[in-house]
Every structure is written in structure tokens, then in C-alpha cells.
């Protein structure tokens, strides 16, 4: 019987290990295409680097999530 362990990511996430290279790329590309749905929402934010948000001509009030970024 498998022991309970600390879980960080879902089984679906971790299932990438079982994909062939072709399947991985297909899944990856499909994921990226689906993620385009949020392009408008993150138009002025950053996910990497030292900048949290871009200065648009008319900047909306910031909420806490807008400022989070990778370091």
C-alpha cells in the first residue's frame, strides 16, 4: 500500500513524466493556447524579472496580485 506523502502538485501536473516528447509538446502547446484567455487581464503585469507592472497611459489601481512576480 502506498503511504500518504506531502503533496505539492496535482497528479495531472506530475503526469507529464509519462508523456512522450511529442505528447509533452502537444500538451504544452495546447496549455499555452488555452492560457491566452487571460492576455487582457495580465497585459500590464510581469511574471519574471524585477518589474511588477508596466505603466500604461491610464493605470488602473493595483491589487496585491498585480504586484507579485518571480524574482
Amino acid at each position: 500500500m502506498r503511504a500518504v506523502r506531502d503533496e505539492f502538485l496535482s497528479e495531472e501536473d506530475l503526469d507529464l513524466r509519462n508523456l512522450t516528447d511529442e505528447e509533452l509538446v502537444a500538451y504544452w502547446n495546447q496549455w499555452l493556447e488555452q492560457a491566452q484567455a487571460t492576455n487582457a487581464a495580465d497585459a500590464h503585469t510581469y511574471s519574471h524579472g524585477v518589474f511588477a507592472y508596466a505603466p500604461p497611459a491610464k493605470r488602473l489601481p493595483l491589487v496585491a496580485e498585480d504586484r507579485s512576480t518571480y524574482g
Binding site: 506523502r5 506531502d6 505539492f8 502538485l9 496535482s10 501536473d13 506530475l14 507529464l16 513524466r17 508523456l19 516528447d21 511529442e22 509533452l24 509538446v25 502537444a26 500538451y27 504544452w28 502547446n29 496549455w31 499555452l32 493556447e33 492560457a35 491566452q36 487571460t38 492576455n39 510581469y46 511574471s47 519574471h48 524579472g49 524585477v50 518589474f51 511588477a52 508596466a54 505603466p55 500604461p56 497611459a57 507579485s68 512576480t69 518571480y70 524574482g71
Partner: protein, 268 residues
Amino acid sequence: MSANVYQELTQAFNAGRLRAILSSGQAVVMHRLAVMSKDGDWILREDSEALAHVLGVLEERGARYRFGAPLDTRWLAGGWSSHFEFRTDSLRVRTDFVTRPPRITPTSLQALWVRAEADAKPVPFADVITLVELKKTNRERDYAVIGELARLIDDPAECLLQSRSARDLIALARKQPALLDRLVSKRPVLRHVRDGRDGLEVALDAERRELMHANERRLQLYLDAAQVWMDAWPRIAAGIADMPLREAHATLVTHAGGRLPFQVESAS
């Protein structure tokens, strides 16, 4: 086989010479963990040829600058990041670059390049230990990724230094008690391994919070230092909007001089 845009870009950046290592979220995918980011992030060689080549690759794809530092060694050496965006038929592609990734020591960074040269992978990507350090951000979800990345580490010492699982740490400490004692000075949370799972989990949570706050403090320094540049950006961005990327870059460098400091006090 249909390729992935980040794999293709990495290969184009590295045509003829190793210049770019795929990093952060897309490197996590290369390790076959979760797909969690739609943007690409690379660590670049800090030399003019590498940066000029990358700019050329991006110009061929119709990329434009996003707000950020110029892709220039003087700013990148100070820890700044450069950001671009272009469109394919179906994707908005964002490309983000640093040459001095956060929390990576100069020695570790040099070793990363040496390993990448030796490995000569078609798509060079950051190793697990480097990714773990990069993921010590102010975002909660990055610590879930670290939790799984740490399970890919074979070296017991590195596992003890990076694992976010109380169960894993306790099990490993039982096998390696002397190693645990040696590493407490490098990772104080290990002092709590013998407190049991509940005590260790409280300490791990506190450690995560402190790491997040440390990154917030680091980012705030850059945010403050970029204020003049940020205020000037809308006008500058309008001026370069229709320029080819390399022409836009030259203009941006001129404007950034005096507005965006090369170095940020206490950020290194």
C-alpha cells in the same frame, strides 16, 4: 513533430554558440513537472555579442520592447531584467531576460554555464538546484513547484537544504543524522526536524514567509530605482512603437541613460 515556441526560441538564441539557458516556468516543463506559466524566461550570457544575437532573433519575429531595462550589459549586470513581446498566429509570446538571476551566486552561475556547455543539450535549460533558487519568489505557488523539484534531487545534502516536505525531511534525517547536524547552520529550519512533523511544518511555513518577504524587499528596491524610468516610459514607448527592434533598442539605451541607474543599492 510540432515544436514548442520556447524550445524553438532557445535553439535560435543558441545558434552557433551557447548564449541562453531556458529558465523558470518553461524549464520546469522541461523537467516534466507542471506547465504553469505562459511566458518565457532565459538566463543570458552577459556579453554584447550574445545580447545582439538575441535582439536579432527577436526582431525577426516582430518583437517589441515591453517596459523594462534595455537589453544591455550595463543594466543587466546590475540585476535588471529586459522584456519583449511578439505574436504568433495563436500566441502572445513574452520573452524575459536576465544575466544575473536572483539568489544565484557568481560561482553557481559560472558553474551553470560550464555544465550547459558540457551537456550541449539542443535546448539548454536550468538545472533543478538553480530552478529551486529562482523559484524562491514572493508567490505562494512557486513553493509548491519547489516541493516537487526537490524530489528530483539525488544528493541527500541538497535534499535536506531544499525539500519543503516535513515528511521527506524527517525520513531523510533518520537516514543521515550526522549530515542533518552539519547542515543546520546552512538551513536553520532543520533544527526543527526533531520537533516532529507539526513543529517542522510550522517552521517550514515561517521559512517560506521569510523567503517571500526577502524577495518583496528586493523587488521594492528595483521598483523604487525605476520610478523615473517608469514615469518617462509611456512617452518613450510611443516613440519607439513603430521602429524595428534594434533601432528601438538604440533609442531606448539613449533614453535610459540618466533615468535608470545601472546598479541598485543593496540589491546584489
